[in-house]
Symmetry: C2
Amino acid sequence: MTESSAPSSALLTDRYELTMLDAALLDGTYDRECVFEAFTRRLPAGRRYGILAGTGRLLELIDRFRFGDDELEYLRDNRVVRQETLDWLADYRFSGTIRGYREGEVFFPGSPFLIVDAPFAEGVILETLILSVFNYDSAVASAAARMVTAAGGRPIAEMGSRRASERSAVAAARAAYVAGFSATSNLEAGRTWGVPTMGTAAHAFTLLHDSEEDAFRAQVAAMGPGTTLLVDTFDVEKAIETAVRVAGPGLGAIRLDSGDLPNLVRRVRDQLDRLGATETRITVTNDLDEFTIAALSSSPVDSYGVGTSVVTGSGSPASGMVYKLVAHRERDGDGEWVAVAKKSDGKPSIGGRKHPVRRLDSDGRAVAEVVHIVEAGGTPDDTGRDLLVPLITDGELHREHLGAEGAKRAREHREAAMRELPDQAFRLGRGDPVLPTIFA
Amino acid sequence: MTESSAPSSALLTDRYELTMLDAALLDGTYDRECVFEAFTRRLPAGRRYGILAGTGRLLELIDRFRFGDDELEYLRDNRVVRQETLDWLADYRFSGTIRGYREGEVFFPGSPFLIVDAPFAEGVILETLILSVFNYDSAVASAAARMVTAAGGRPIAEMGSRRASERSAVAAARAAYVAGFSATSNLEAGRTWGVPTMGTAAHAFTLLHDSEEDAFRAQVAAMGPGTTLLVDTFDVEKAIETAVRVAGPGLGAIRLDSGDLPNLVRRVRDQLDRLGATETRITVTNDLDEFTIAALSSSPVDSYGVGTSVVTGSGSPASGMVYKLVAHRERDGDGEWVAVAKKSDGKPSIGGRKHPVRRLDSDGRAVAEVVHIVEAGGTPDDTGRDLLVPLITDGELHREHLGAEGAKRAREHREAAMRELPDQAFRLGRGDPVLPTIFA
């Protein structure tokens, strides 16, 4: 279920979180009960909705957020915090409660997609980890969902590992899968998250051989005629002739990774059909994004492979999510709850504990994101779909969100949540968020 | 020196690399001696040079590129490759030779910054890992170097961990440091790579307290008056008055994270001076990039903190680097060397083993990137600065590139390499690569 090794995630943290803890331990405010909230102020320019991804990864990382000897030694040697704080960190284990949008859920500006109830000390030190995971994974999922729409039911594989740093690549493969991609090239994503993997050969394999025919024969010998042959190393037309001669008309697929795609795809389909390879599929992998995929919608393409654009969020590689303290008790234990928010220029926040619901019309179509400000907690009196599910309760992970099973559930939820959206959500052109966010 | 745990990196790999290996083992081409080369076809639009980063990370990842029981089990269960191939992978350890540009080196389109000499099987399966590391780390370093130039000697801290996925954040902190940033907020980058860390408090710390003054008192009590107080939670002018009253005129610094920066900075400087805090520094951290940093060049800012823009490569989050087979022997062992290259539409490559030098004029100023095509290897007869250094020789890592020491050396080399560039390299406006790449 989890990655094969489980190093501590505790130092994947901005230093200021520990120095705030250090000061709060000194003045006694460290255990004031707090509510932290994660949300985004805006969607990337022109996007109509976002897809939340990362929850399953985050929960496993929180489970490994422990300060062991190595972590404490680094903090001590570098005088990051005082000894009292090191002692507190040595015992740290998140004991609070986290609720949030289900992974795969649609979100909008202001959607409070994660709500953390914990003493200040326990909640504040998770900020960086929470934002790192959601900002990246949701950037990928939000872009990927648009590509899935553009593909109109044809399968898309994620193959951008080389365009993301090596561990982001795994997260990206998972996030794209949550958003509806059917497979990935990344083997670690297959192992850790159960994402189906795919891929057969690169140009290097053809170039290694004394002829393209030798390369195709070697590949078919190892993988059978149902394999996908890469046909654009030299001359596409000759390659297809060779491919069908070598593999027979039962050749599984050919892959195009360059060229003037709409025209080339049409010619290739005609050639394959003339050669009797009418069932041989065409997959294209040439610098695609949601727009070029849409431009191929009337071409006889059978599947797509997408690299750079999906792992970099198609122009928006970070989602702009923030994590804010929105309420705390005035004293430890029995003080009054106080809603708090930064007031300064340009980056306003809305204080107070939130409870979001998605308001649906009588046809089950989403019409608004309604964010109730609920002083004392509890579920608001609203018939909309409740958007919060428990993720961690009193320090215990809800395990259905974890591992391959969690990723699969997120993928299914994403499909259901997107079905609620009005049609204009799925236009690729620039527009406003498709639902208004209403603070009630 | 290395990360505290060392999981296998072997599955951070595209599936097609292993299926190519599978087919090559079957037809006997797997041990043809090969030369692979990594380069980029172009710089991001308008950039005049790139900074190579990631080498030290890559070498440690190659050292951990081993197929253990868990990795082999996954590959077996999912029928990725045949049993013979699993047996080969079980014994895999890279035994070839890798030379490359020194980490921190300047590069241009076509610069062959990594040259791998290995049997096909050993070299082909490193493709994804090599590209993941260099594409991301160099995207960050290339953007960061421009920010360092824009800052004109004022220190810049990297604080974008929350805008990159959690492990990319560590790589980004390291890459920015290589490119001349002075510190990072990321504690893991401090531990693993020796990057100095910084940071004191977020708005949450002020909001937790019953008053801003309480928060400032708590912070000064824990960290001393030399700390940096964040003054834009409510009203900047009142906050500064409070800050100097609480910490005294010896207050270390104040931080501004919002607002109309050039005007605000000037007003804040005047206010601090009036209060006698003439030595208190001003650090600004408000959505900066190379352009907004440059716009602050005449403002009394003492240091910068940069987040999103540096960890996302300031608009170019992936460097577009590729890894290509450029030459191989026709048979195993004693065959002729053959230069190879993909010929198809739009993505041409230049075959053959390369040896790059940087041509300098009599003042030591760089004038061209000269890439010699050298059939048999060896150093070309050229008085330019030889750009290749050994990284791995016959499977042995050159350890001076590793760990904190390697990152520090890379940082120093980056400074020296940039000093060679002509002045127009440092213009922020869009332009062509500042050196021509000449294939000789």
